[in-house]
């Protein structure tokens, strides 16, 4: 086989890269058209001809009509196979959108109700101490509740994060005969109703041991709810650590606790932080366990260890049923603040969880344009042997991996 000496004339024509697409430009129009005609059809039949009405039936029937019309249109142009494929794609996509809809609606609803009071500076700088039924809108706020929420959240994390990570390390790294019952208990804990956690702390610490209502008591109840989620998520990420990593640490003569602390845990740091943040997001919105632990307060209590303390969920819970419309508006602002806090925590969790991949991508980008070799001698050797076939290897002595097995 010899390479043709002349250049193929076709090579002179400049190339135009195209990206093959399954879906053409008209397909979007077909989709919109089918939806419009489905809705029109149902409107005529359902609202005008039949003695029926109501939004639920209308939208449901419209959707069915849309699917039927869309299917027959695609079938006539692309054939039966393509029709089935597209209809399935539409059903699955609308399912996903349907899932996102309630969340979007909740956020929009709370936003529209709460944004008015949230943007007033008083919301962050004042408490409810001097608020009466006739107080104007720009007076009174949730400062005491925000402080309470942050303090209680901090204490909850301080209690549950070390406990949860330690339990996960025990389950995955130490194990033994106790691992099974401990795992069962952790699972059972994740099923404990939040009101029960609150009742437990109330009856044990407040009624029996005589503690006062306090933010810390609430934190303990919240920690009970957060602990199983931190434990199980951390255990999951620990399980992803390759066994070889652990073994090579031990093979260097490391005691197990050092191998865990200095090799295994650093490897999953991002995952553990994500686990804790997700647990925080779950705990921060809990209301029931607070009712009989931190109780409620409309004045500032900086000390989480003594006396009733408010927090955003309790603040919302107490105010939203108030007959004073001003208080109700403040409650919605509190709900919005809570949602923003939770969304912020989720965003942070995604961000932290993606950090190792981001680092990896940055590293690859840095390496992509081969770095100028610092010394001529290092240059050929630093070329990855795996990436570039070595030009001057003595092939007669090359190994053939996987010889006799």
């Amino acid at each position: 086989m010899s390479v043709p000496a002349t250049v193929d004339p076709a090579h002179r024509v400049p190339e135009r890269p195209v990206r093959p697409r399954m879906v053409g430009r008209d397909d979007g129009l077909v989709l919109v058209g089918s939806a419009a005609s489905g809705m029109s059809l149902v409107w005529v039949v359902y609202e005008r001809l039949l003695p029926l009405s109501g939004p639920v039936g209308f939208w449901l029937l419209s959707y069915v009509a849309f699917l039927a019309i869309y299917r027959s249109v695609v079938r006539s142009t692309h054939g039966a196979l393509a029709a089935r494929d597209r209809v399935m794609a539409v059903v699955v996509t609308s399912g996903a959108l349907g899932l996102a809809a309630p969340l979007t609606l909740i956020i929009l609803f709370v936003f529209s109700k709460g944004i008015g009071a949230l943007v007033k500076p008083a919301f962050f700088t004042q408490t409810l101490a001097k608020v009466g039924p006739l107080s104007p809108e720009d007076q009174g706020g949730a400062q005491h509740a925000i402080v309470g929420t942050l303090e209680q959240l901090g204490l909850t994390v301080a209690v549950s994060a070390p406990l949860g990570v330690a339990t996960a390390v025990f389950l995955n790294e130490v194990g033994g005969r106790l691992a099974r019952p401990v795992r069962t208990i952790v699972d059972a804990m994740s099923g404990v109703p939040s009101i029960v956690a609150g009742l437990f702390v109330y009856s044990l610490l407040i009624r029996t041991l005589g503690w006062s209502f306090s933010g810390f008591a609430a934190s303990l109840a919240l920690a009970m709810l957060m602990l199983p989620s931190v434990t199980r998520t951390t255990e999951e990420v620990l399980r992803l650590v390759p066994g070889g990593l652990r073994e090579s640490a031990l093979a260097l003569g490391a005691p197990e606790w050092r191998a865990t602390l200095q090799v295994v845990l650093p490897t999953v740091r991002a995952g553990v932080v994500t686990a804790v943040i997700l647990g925080m997001a779950r705990a921060v919105g809990e209301t029931a366990p607070l009712i009989m632990t931190s109780f409620n307060s409309s004045v500032m209590n900086w000390n989480p260890f003594s006396g009733p303390q408010s927090s955003l969920p309790i603040y919302v819970y107490r105010l939203v049923g108030n007959s004073d419309p001003g208080q109700v508006r403040r409650a919605w602002a509190g709900a919005l603040a809570l949602i923003v806090l939770v969304l912020g925590l989720f965003t942070m969790a995604r961000w932290v969880g993606g950090a190792p991949q981001r680092r990896e991508r940055r590293r690859q980008r840095r390496q992509a344009p081969a770095p100028a070799p610092a010394s001529a001698a290092a240059a050929p050797a630093s070329t990855s042997a795996a990436a570039a076939p070595a030009p001057t290897v003595d092939l007669t002595r090359t190994d053939h991996p996987g010889g006799p097995q």
């Binding site: 003569g253 005691p255 590293r363 002595r397 097995q405």
Partner: protein
């Protein structure tokens, strides 16, 4: 050509200022070692002497217990739940399973390199080399000479000298494996166990590892498991052929000088195996 020249410059230990010389190599002797996973016996009375400063190759088909045997030598076997063993392993005459002996001390004296290169992903190249010190509670500051010496012995120094602070995972597979060798050498082991160290690598990297083995064998006893007959012939002084019959534990069929195992084996099964006639 470049590769060859580089290798040599690379692997001359202590060609610069020579830091503390590595500990002398030690002999290793397995006496009637048997092993079980639960009630499943996988090794039957294996005895083998690995002389100080030599390279011993363990060959045999998959599943005949080579990995189990090598892991018994540095007490990694007991990390598997349900793993049991019988027999003795003598390191310079002292039983590593003796009452007074700590597993961690044995593992520090008998290093190990695994099949899959596994540098610690959160550590830089330098920290990977010093990981053994850190993990055994020793100071790691001011150990630049040790880093350089270990990387030189592993034949990696020239390739990474300018990026000691980049992550160990940023190297190619073959470089990662040599980094693991440097990491194992940095704690000053007397024996280095290698369980199929090249089977995840390309031919060029394999050659470089083999050259590294040739260099370090001067001051460390090397035990290497390999499925590659040419490799066993190239790197080892003596060879042990493991075999497990159907539903039976593995045992050593034949052991001796490499030349003898390959050129004049006494057992016909050894001849068949080394000539690729079964397995």
């Amino acid at each position: 050509m470049t590769f060859r020249t580089l290798d040599r410059a690379d692997t001359v230990p202590g060609s610069r200022s020579a830091p503390a010389p590595p500990r002398a190599s030690a002999s290793l002797e397995a006496q009637s070692v048997s092993a079980w996973f639960g009630s499943h016996k996988v090794l039957e009375r294996v005895s083998l002497t690995m002389s100080a400063g030599g390279v011993t190759a363990l060959i045999g088909p998959s599943g005949c217990g080579k990995s189990t045997f090598i892991r018994i030598l540095n007490r990694m076997h007991e990390l598997v739940p349900g793993a049991m063993l019988a027999g003795r392993v003598l390191l310079d005459g002292d039983d590593v399973y003796g009452d007074q002996v700590q597993a961690t001390d044995t593992r520090r004296r008998i290093g190990m390199v695994f099949q899959k290169p596994n540098p610690f992903p959160t550590m830089t190249i330098r920290d990977n080399v010093l990981a053994g010190l850190k993990l055994t509670g020793q100071a790691t500051s001011g150990r630049d000479a040790l880093v350089e010496q270990s990387l030189q012995r592993a034949g990696l120094w020239n390739e990474v000298r300018n990026r000691l602070d980049s992550p160990g995972g940023a190297l190619s597979g073959g470089q990662q494996q040599r980094l693991c060798i440097a990491r194992a050498l940095a704690v000053g082991p007397e024996v280095l166990l290698m369980d199929e160290p090249c089977s995840a690598l390309d031919p060029t990297s394999t050659r470089r590892i083999e050259e590294t083995i040739g260099e370090i064998a001067r001051d460390v006893t090397v035990v290497i498991v390999t499925h590659n007959m040419q490799q066993a012939q190239r790197v080892s002084d003596q060879c042990a052929f493991f075999l497990a019959a159907e539903d039976e534990p593995g045992r050593i069929v034949e052991a001796g000088a490499t030349a003898q195992i390959f050129d004049a084996p006494t057992d016909p099964r050894t001849a068949d195996y080394v000539h690729g006639r079964f397995g």
